[in-house]
């Protein structure tokens, strides 16, 4: 890694307990400056609790979190000066217009006069809300509220932006715009983004690194391709193949290939499980026999499958640790 990639958010053994329940369990996380980090996990995995602790809105039971070297628990006001937070289901004062809502946020951040007006105008323009700026916030659609939420976060010109479920309940077109905007915030403005979500497909499109969160613990963390490799090494390769012609003869031929463990047929597709990556050998073999490939896909490469595999493994471990207690 080169020197420019400095760590901007760190947590050490961050833990939060609500009574008996452990919402976040010994979280060690480091996020680099300028990257988009995706925090993935099912509902109730502790994502929001982690975010609240990073902002100093909830006190951790144990451990520390710091942003730019500022302790999040001890000095939340300084942290909140450089961190923008967009909560899930972001709400606005319904009696005020979009512009007035933004002005209020700006004033809370110590802006005033011309600087405030200019920033409000430029941000409304940036999120494409200029036309609707003088309508009451109660008339806004979900997508508009989300865009106004981003403008609201940008009012303080934050180095770091934390978004809690930003993609929830937005139509595909709005989603596409949102993702482009988020990418711009990171790549053009050089801001660091921390995004929590359970919508894997969207996260996969924009995140540099992801952390997978299951019942309070981070079970995997890294780039998506790294995680994919990691999971493939531990499990088996699984290849989807569809060819024409598609016959039993071919199935028998494939089983004879080196490394193949099992072949099954799902609809028109063959599912080939093997201990090594077969793609090169197999395409050469099929080509030499005159088969045409219609579909070839190595499973485990995308986030959906990585997530599913990690999640299953975490559940299995959970059952194992619980097993002896259960039998008592």
């Amino acid at each position: 890694m080169d020197n420019t990639e400095q760590i901007i958010i760190t947590t050490q053994g961050l833990t939060k307990r609500y009574g008996e329940k452990c919402a976040v369990n010994g979280l060690d996380l480091s996020i680099r400056k300028g990257e988009i980090f995706g925090l993935l996990g099912p509902n109730g995995a502790g994502k929001t609790t982690t975010i609240l602790m990073l902002l100093g809105l909830t006190e951790p039971s144990e451990g520390t979190a710091s942003i730019c070297g500022i302790d999040c628990t001890r000095d939340p006001v300084s942290v909140k000066r450089i961190v923008g937070y967009m909560p899930d289901n972001v709400g606005f004062y319904s009696d005020l217009t979009g512009r007035e809502n933004l002005r209020f946020t700006g004033r809370l951040n110590g802006l005033s006069g011309k600087e405030l007006d200019e920033r409000v105008d430029s941000l409304l323009d940036r999120v494409g809300m200029t036309d609707a700026a003088d309508q009451k916030a109660s008339t806004y659609s979900k997508g508009m509220r989300q865009r106004l939420g981003i403008a609201d976060v940008l009012m303080k010109d934050p180095q770091i932006i934390i978004m809690d479920e930003p993609t929830l309940g937005i139509d595909p077109e709005g989603m596409r715009e949102l993702l482009i905007l988020m990418r711009k915030l990171s790549k053009e403005d050089g801001r660091t983004l921390l995004i929590s979500s359970h919508q894997l497909y969207q996260i996969q499109q924009i995140c540099d690194r992801v952390g997978i969160f299951v019942s309070g613990s981070l079970i995997a963390c890294g780039e998506i391709s790294e995680l994919g490799k990691q999971i493939q090494q531990e499990t088996h390769y699984s290849l989807e193949l569809e060819t024409t012609p598609s016959d039993i003869e071919l199935l028998n031929e494939i089983v004879k290939q080196p490394g193949v463990e099992h072949v099954s047929k799902e609809g028109k597709q063959f599912i080939i499980e093997s201990v090594a990556d077969l793609r090169e050998n197999l395409t050469a073999f099929l080509g030499s026999r005159g088969y045409k490939i219609l579909h070839l896909h190595q499973r485990g490469g995308d986030l959906d499958e990585i997530y599913r595999l990690y999640f299953e493994r975490a559940e299995q471990q959970d059952e194992k640790t619980r097993g002896p207690h259960g039998s008592l």
Binding site: T48, T58, K80, Y85, P87, N89, R107, L108, G110
Partner: protein, 314 residues
């Protein structure tokens, strides 16, 4: 950055919200109607019963034509004003999702609740003083009595008491808005307390006093009367409603010389006459202290609860 930038911005926003909101118009209409009804009642009452040495004060304290006086109207309706301004202060923001957005701004957490309380109190003060002065003006025009300086001072003390009294109800409703998840629950809780203090507290005080110091035969009457009365009075004074009523009727009526039971012994040699402004004030000083203490206690409780509360919106 200025240290109180957040608090100032919050205060101004809350104040604007109150003054421009529909709810404020509703309160204003109600209060105006009360104002003019009581003024009408006072003038007709004064015509029937005659005028005392302090006619200007009578505009506030006399009722007539079965319309209660301005003072008793305010004692009864004041809580409603405080309630209307504060019952959804915190849980309203929580349910509309603006609270956690607000919390994520670089302001101290207590600025939020302090800003809300101060803005509410400011609205109350503006409303009460406008109303009081309006009644005086209209009264002067209608009756032709010009106020004496002492009367003006008494009226200002009365209005100040009223502000503190309504601010207590504001603090109480903010407390319930912190404690209850739903705005309807917090509103109902405050209404319940309001009715309890205004109607049932005196019944409860009476029952307790009679149980502790019975006065149901001649012997008991001789032995227990004073104690029974004092206990009854002191229990009633727990209620801010009673405390306020007692204090303002003392301030507004210079002929009231004592607020506690007075024995015949103590009356011997006393010269009948009016109390001076300073002496009246001295009589109600404990009431003022008590009311301010109650207000601060209500606010402090909501402050502490708010500071310790989880932000999570669900």
């Amino acid at each position: 950055m200025k240290k109180h930038a957040g608090l100032t911005a919050l205060f101004e926003k809350e104040l604007a919200d109150h003054l421009l909101g529909k709810r404020f118009v509703l309160i204003l209409v109600l209060i105006w109607a009360t104002c003019f009804a009581s003024l009408y009642g006072a003038t007709s009452g004064m015509r029937e019963a005659g005028v005392s040495d302090y006619p200007f004060l009578q505009l506030y304290t006399t009722g007539g034509s079965s319309i209660p006086s301005f003072m008793s109207f305010i004692a009864l309706l004041g809580p409603f004003v405080g309630l209307a301004l504060g019952f959804d202060a915190v849980n309203g923001e929580r349910s509309s999702g603006t609270l956690n957005r607000l919390m994520a701004q670089p302001i101290y957490r207590d600025s939020i609740i302090i800003g809300k309380f101060l803005a509410g109190t400011a609205v109350i003060a503006i409303m009460v003083f406008t109303m009081g002065i309006l009644i005086g003006t209209c009264g002067t025009l209608r009756t032709g009595f010009a106020p004496q300086p002492e009367e003006v001072m008494r009226i200002f003390v009365f209005l100040f008491f009223t502000v503190v009294y309504i601010a207590f109800w504001l603090g109480l409703s903010i407390l319930f808005s912190v404690l209850c998840r739903h705005t309807a629950t917090s509103a109902l809780a405050v209404i319940a307390l309001w009715i309890f203090f205004a109607i049932f507290m005196s019944l409860v005080a009476n029952i307790v006093a009679n149980a502790v110091y019975p006065v149901n035969n001649d012997y008991y009457v001789i032995v227990n009367s004073l104690k029974n009365y004092s206990l009854n009075l002191n229990l009633n004074r727990i209620s801010p409603y009673y405390l306020y009523c007692e204090a303002v009727s003392t301030v507004m009526d210079p002929s009231i010389r004592a607020v506690n039971a007075v024995t015949m012994n103590q009356m011997v040699g006393a010269i009948t006459g009016y109390l001076s402004f300073g002496q009246s004030l001295l009589l109600v000083w404990p009431h003022l202290t008590g009311l301010i203490a109650l207000t601060l206690a209500a606010f402090a409780a909501s402050y502490v609860c708010f500071m310790r509360q989880e932000i999570r919106s669900n």
